[in-house]
């Protein structure tokens, strides 16, 4: 087991040695079906869509649960999808935001070689940073794909009736959505996560600063990987305070970084019993008892 400390969170990673001892009651319900692009290639087929998992979604224990929730929904809706698996590499977003254009472009070009090698047309990401980078910044380097965020995929699946939500466990619960900067302001996607959550029959509440005025969680621009500069408060504390002022049952998020930041914020206020921080995908999966 590896323990990685960084200032925002402690990420505990289970590596191979203790794999077998890990049992997750939630995941044992139905085995996840996660085909890779290589599997499809071997069969001479191609999937509807590639699921770009992202580094958090692959390695961070909390974010892995979001990844699984997305896969459960994809499985449930019979979406023909594939992951790149070991062929996926960091999109390069943190390098680009930190000013390391060299490293970013190296990452991007390697990923583009893989994606173009498989003739990928459509990608769904589990992270707004990967989403923004692949959608907007890969084209200049030769990577042209239709890229959507997982909340947009959920919206499509609901609209086309491939998944439905009936009643569900969030009926009447108070939920507030924290806009990820790179989904909201970065790409003007505000409605997809909200229109998905409307189906939960929950009471959706908006924070004072929401949508285009949403306050950052504090993790973007590679801040996730460093100590914050000197100040009088942490950004995630400021943001969590605002969310908690609404007395929500759930703070909904659409980004693994926001998830970490808001979870830490909730812990800071000792509210982790009352208030859950959940990704929109987890809400949908749980409502459907997946």
């Amino acid at each position: 087991m590896k323990v990685i400390h960084n200032h925002h969170s402690t990420i505990i990673i289970h590596t191979m040695e203790n794999q077998t001892s890990t049992t997750d009651t939630q995941t044992t319900k139905q085995p996840l079906v996660v085909p890779t692009m290589a599997d499809y290639m071997a069969k001479g087929e191609s999937p509807e869509i590639v699921f770009w998992v992202g580094c958090s979604g692959s390695f961070d224990d909390r974010a892995k649960k979001i990844t699984k929730a997305i896969v459960k929904i994809l499985n449930h809706a019979n979406v023909k999808f594939a992951v790149l698996g070991v062929e996926e590499s960091c999109s390069g977003d943190p390098a680009k935001r930190a000013g390391n254009e060299f490293l970013f472009q190296m990452q991007a070009m390697n990923n583009i070689t893989v994606l173009n090698g498989y003739d990928v047309k459509k990608i769904v990401t589990g992270c707004p940073h990967c989403f923004n980078t692949i959608k907007n910044e890969y084209p200049a380097l030769g990577g042209h794909y239709e890229v959507i965020h997982h909340t947009q995929l959920l919206q499509d699946l609901l609209n086309s009736g491939r998944i439905t939500i009936e009643g569900g466990s969030f009926k009447g619960k108070k939920i507030t959505f924290h806009d990820p900067c790179y989904l909201g302001r970065g790409n003007d996607v505000y409605e997809a996560p909200r229109s998905v959550m409307v189906n939960l029959d929950a009471e959706l509440m908006e924070m004072k600063r929401s949508k285009s005025k949403g306050l950052c969680c504090g993790a973007g621009g590679a801040q996730m990987f460093k100590e914050a500069e000197k100040g009088n408060k942490e950004v995630n504390i400021e943001r969590t305070e605002e969310a908690l002022a609404l007395n929500p049952d759930v703070i909904a998020v659409g980004c693994p970084f926001c998830n970490t930041m808001m979870t830490d914020g909730v812990k800071h206020f000792n509210k982790e019993q009352e208030v859950k921080v959940l990704d929109v995908a987890e809400l949908i999966a749980q409502a459907n008892d997946l």
Partner: protein, 435 residues
């Protein structure tokens, strides 16, 4: 006759000086690097109509938005009145536009009402700055000259409007007296109330006051015009081109560094031949000084109104960090002005002054506090992009100086070795499927 000559000389001097200063600003802006902002003209005109002319981004704060509309519309419309004054000044006519007959009544009445709203707006703005102390308007970004600048603009506008009312009040009294030359009747719904203050005065005194106010107003306007290039008030002109040339792409998309692309391609494919570099352009990754920025970023700096909407939405600033996107823009303008003066003093050549935008004006501590959240870009009423400057300067720190914070260097190393920002083996990427 003498007054006409005097007026023409004054006008000529005022416009010449203004032209010289604007050309200097233009030259300074063009010190910036090329960037493509001329595509999609239709979309650009639309954006300009909406954001600059229609002030669509102001409405999120309704009170200052309404007051600003008063001052803005007032100021623009009253400039029609200046045409009246200019023609009178040159040809010695009196209220030249009165040939429009009944329309003239409507014109002057409109001017007066707008002038009143402008005065009202400016007064409330002064109160907000100096008595109510609205947070973003008393920030330490504005210590010294910027605060004086803001107050000077507001007070000048109030004085100009007061002179306008006084002039009209005296003119109306002189008309009532049947004074020679003052032979135009006009509606004066506002200055009407000032008339009792001056009634009973001698004809000569009234003429003196009226003339004094006329000259005060006209000299004031010409001086004000020449004050613009030194002031945040320059935005009344630059807002339009600045919004026209604004970034039409998604805000999340950062610029692609072509120079880096060529190098990376050469590494990945040894047969790749990068296009020959322009020997006149100093090759540098990222921005150390204003001349490394694009002309649009420099235009941004001159356009900034110092309103602080960006800073008041900035998560770093809200939580007490040193970073303030407004200050990023103000520093860029200050440094650019300094570079411009250096060029003027050295016969058109920039002489190294051992200073740069980085460190002397903007510190790494400010740059590293940014979360790249785009709140500043979103809030700016004139589509300024402080974030792009921050990122360009980070690029210089990282790629030219290897001066990233240690933790970020560790992140880079992880990404290089493992394809992830953390220390995980790439072969473990699918472990989650088995857990």
């Amino acid at each position: 006759m003498i007054t006409s000559i005097l007026f023409i000389l004054l006008l000529a001097a005022g416009t010449t000086l203004f032209t010289i200063n604007v050309r200097k600003v233009r030259r300074n802006i063009l010190l910036g690097k090329e960037t493509e902002r001329k595509d999609q003209p239709g979309m650009r005109w639309k954006t300009m109509a909406r954001v600059a002319l229609g002030q669509s981004k102001m409405v999120t704060r309704p009170i200052p938005a309404i007051l600003h509309i008063f001052v803005y519309v007032g100021f623009v419309i009253i400039n029609i009145e200046v045409i009246d004054m200019f023609v009178d000044g040159i040809f010695g006519t009196h209220r030249f536009l009165s040939f429009t007959g009944g329309l003239y009544n409507i014109l002057v009445a409109t001017f007066e009402i707008l002038a009143f709203l402008t005065t009202f707006g400016c007064a409330v703005f002064l109160i907000r700055r100096n008595i109510v102390h609205v947070k973003r308007l008393v920030s330490k970004d504005l210590t010294g000259w910027p605060r004086t600048d803001a107050n000077a603009i507001l007070i000048t506008e109030i004085l100009l409007m007061t002179a306008f009312f006084t002039m009209n009040a005296c003119d109306a009294l002189l008309f009532n007296m049947g004074s020679h030359h003052y032979n135009v009747a006009f509606a004066n719904p506002v200055s009407h109330y000032l008339m009792p203050l001056f009634s009973g005065m001698q004809e000569g005194t009234l003429i003196f006051i009226e003339r004094f106010c006329w000259w005060f107003h006209i000299i004031g306007i010409i001086s004000f015009l020449n004050y613009l290039p030194y002031s945040k008030h320059f935005h009344i002109l630059l807002a339009f081109p600045n919004v026209y040339f604004s970034n039409l792409k998604k805000k999340g998309e950062f610029t692609n560094l072509e120079s880096v692309t060529n190098e990376v391609k050469a590494i990945m494919d040894p047969s790749f031949m990068p296009p020959p570099a322009d020997p006149n352009v100093q090759m540098r990754f990222g921005a150390k000084d204003v001349t490394d920025l694009s002309w649009k970023q420099l235009l941004d700096a001159y356009t900034c109104t110092e309103c602080g909407r960006c800073t008041s939405a900035c998560p770093a600033n809200i939580t007490g960090k040193l970073l303030s996107p407004r200050k990023i823009m103000m520093s860029t303008r200050d440094r650019l002005e300094e570079v411009g003066k250096n060029i003027d003093a050295n016969k058109g050549e920039f002489k190294d002054d051992g200073k740069s935008l980085l460190n002397d004006y903007i510190t790494p501590e400010e740059l590293w506090a940014c979360t790249s959240c785009n709140a500043c870009v979103q809030e700016c009423p004139v589509n300024i992009d402080p974030l792009s400057i921050i990122i360009d300067m980070r690029r210089f720190l990282v790629m030219e100086q290897s001066a990233a914070p240690t933790e970020l260097n560790m992140m880079f190393t992880n990404m290089e070795n493992n394809g992830a920002p953390w220390q995980f083996s790439p072969s473990d990427r699918l472990n989650w499927t088995k857990e």
